[in-house]
């Protein structure tokens, strides 16, 4: 198949169009502005809707409206804009509307900067807005996955009637790689009998998240939780790579997984058997596989562009079966392979001095 050289943002936009997305609403913010620019041209070609909203708040609510009518609709932004969209995300989750929201993460908090970061992990995976809800969160690590994941995201969103977030970062948005674009013309578009399209030959449809009668909201929450349990059971995705019998487990997602993959052969050369778990779904998180491997390794090493957000989930998963070490940089600092390698070597020294330095099996 023909390969194209595309930036991550362009690949994601094209992937979304090929996944049947016909409605895009957004507001400019770096480092994702290539997505609306691409959509402005491309959606007109396919008879879709592109609209630059007056704010991120308006954009997510336009998505809410389009999604309510059954369309595949999306918006994209970065940290500060995603914060503004949290109200809308909570409403989408509460009203069970499928939609795609893309966060090309930049440094925070506040206005921060426009450099790469992974500091919106908590916001994406632990709720972000008000109420007991979850988004499905997908973490691409290549331009190819930037192109492929919109399709997966829309399918999952439609299947579960739940908003899905693609959590990328400025590196993935801006970098260019060769991409194979898949033709998804035969989209698995499912029937949406719940959509508001005019009550023609059927009873009235209502999209809502308000349940005032006693017990009604609790029942609605239980229904949502049941759905989340099914997602946890069926939708956990991760990549496991490296030595089949590791003594060190690396855990990293997105662009930081690439840094890990780069240093793994170097670790092998100095005689350290390493494998990497790259969570692809950050929610639902691959707790089980990490727990399994944590029984076998000397330690886990987590790499993030944050102060250690996914680290908390890795610690939960490991159930203290082995020590969990962390290295991360914040505010746009990108860990270089050499510095990560140095950190791992330091940990190896510390760990080799332990009395019970044995591989548990």
């Amino acid at each position: 198949m023909k390969k194209l050289l595309l930036s991550g943002n362009e690949a994601l936009a094209e992937g979304a169009v090929r996944a049947g997305c016909r409605c895009y609403f957004g507001y400019p913010i770096t480092p994702q502005s290539e997505i609306p620019a691409y959509m402005a041209k491309r959606l007109r070609q396919v008879g879709g809707v592109f609209l630059q909203a007056e704010s991120e708040i308006a954009a997510i609510n336009m998505v809410y409206g389009a999604a309510a009518t059954g369309m595949r609709a999306m918006t994209s932004s970065s940290g500060p804009g995603i914060s503004l969209k949290q109200e809308g995300l909570s409403y989408l989750a509460g009203a069970q509307l499928p939609a795609l929201v893309v966060n090309v993460m930049r440094g925070g908090p506040g206005l921060g900067n426009i450099a790469p970061s992974q500091s919106d992990y908590f916001q994406a995976t632990k709720g972000g807005g008000h109420g007991d809800y979850h988004l499905i969160v997908l973490a691409p690590f290549s331009v190819q996955e930037m192109a492929d994941f919109p399709h997966l995201a829309f399918d999952l969103a439609d299947k579960y009637r739940n908003p899905v977030m693609i959590l990328a970062d400025a590196i993935l948005g801006q970098m260019m790689e060769a991409v194979e674009l898949k033709n998804n013309e035969k989209n698995r578009l499912i029937e949406k009998p719940w959509a508001v399209t005019g009550a023609r030959g059927r009873p009235q449809n209502i999209i809502r998240s308000l349940f005032l009668k006693e017990g009604e909201l609790e029942a609605h929450n239980k229904l949502l939780q049941k759905k989340y349990r099914i997602m946890k059971k069926n939708e956990v995705r991760y990549q496991l790579t490296g030595d089949p019998d590791p003594e060190v487990l690396l855990v990293a997602y997105g662009s930081m997984a690439r840094v890990c993959m780069y240093i793994m052969p170097r670790l092998k050369k100095i005689g350290v058997r390493t494998s990497l778990i790259r969570p692809i779904t950050l929610w639902p998180f691959p707790y089980d596989i990490i727990e399994d491997i944590s029984k076998k390794v000397k330690f886990i090493f987590v790499l993030e562009m944050s102060e250690g957000q996914m680290l908390e989930d890795v610690k939960l998963a490991s159930r203290e079966k082995c020590p969990v070490y962390f290295y991360g940089r914040m505010g746009g600092g990108v860990p270089e392979p050499e510095e990560v390698l140095t950190k791992i070597e330091e940990v190896l020294k510390v760990e080799s001095k332990r009395k019970n330095y044995k591989i548990r099996r």
Binding site: E54, M62, Y64, A68, T69, A73, G198, I207, L210
Partner: protein
């Protein structure tokens, strides 16, 4: 032989509403349903009700409805109308919702000339949350958050929304009406119908502001509330057409 001269509109459910005695929402709901029946648009209609006393209007309207966040109805309506341009779309918003938290959304929807209809119910107060000051609260009016009366030095002046929107070329038809008397209720119906026709015939933005009583939060009897409307509200706001670009014009290409 007997003849039926008055009946429940088909697009209105046969249920009691939760509105307080003397509230204007019930009248306005009924007018909308009568118009929907008369225009035969029930099966192509999508209504949008944001946070406020009328957030559960879908319990009374028997057509497709979306309940949305506070102030965001014009953005949601934009998403609906843009993705389904063949449908008839309206928002039903209160004054706190439209003129305060949703000010950006309504101005930009009007500026873009979005082809939906806005029914803007102004009762000069936040009813649902228990009677706080709204951007439309009159000077001197006492509310729970202006216990000494609204003072322009502290809280500024009440906002006239249709006048504010009238400078925007995208705003096609803007009118202010009131539901204080049978005559004005008939005028209200005429205006809302014209607003829907502006959408259907011209594919343009229309807004009708309806001055409406809120006896409970005004701390007045329903009769005194109507009197207060006539003595205070209507003289300040003024009734009539604020802008009308006409619906008899040939449809644009």
């Amino acid at each position: 032989m007997m003849r039926i001269v008055y009946t429940k509109p088909k697009s209105m459910k046969d249920v009691p509403t939760h509105y307080c005695p003397g509230c204007g929402h019930g009248i306005i709901h009924r007018l909308i349903c009568e118009i929907v029946d008369e225009l035969g648009i029930r099966e192509d209609l999508i209504g949008i009700c944001p946070v406020g006393c009328s957030v559960v209007a879908y319990n009374y309207f028997d057509f497709d409805m979306i309940e949305v966040a506070h102030g965001r109805a014009p953005a949601v309506a934009t998403g609906v109308k843009r993705s389904r341009p063949d449908k008839v779309v309206f928002t039903y918003q209160g004054d706190g919702d439209l003129a305060s938290i949703g000010m950006a959304e309504i101005i930009h929807a009007a500026a873009r000339g979005e082809a939906f209809t806005v029914v803007f119910v102004n009762n000069a107060i936040y009813g649902m949350t228990g009677g706080q000051m709204a951007p439309t609260t009159l000077l001197g009016q006492k509310t729970t958050t202006t216990p000494f009366g609204r003072d322009h030095k502290m809280e500024g002046y009440p906002i006239k929304i249709p006048e504010l929107l009238s400078s925007l070329p995208g705003a096609w038809y803007l009118e202010r009406v009131a539901v204080n008397s049978p005559g004005n209720i008939r005028k209200t119906k005429k205006a809302i119908k014209k607003a829907f026709l502006t959408q259907i015939e011209k594919n343009k933005f229309s807004l009708v502001e309806v001055l409406s009583p809120c006896p409970t939060s005004w701390r007045l009897s329903p009769v005194d509330a109507i009197k207060w409307m006539e003595e205070q509200m209507i003289p300040y706001y003024g009734l009539g057409t604020i802008k009308d670009e006409g619906i008899q014009v040939v449809r644009e290409k």
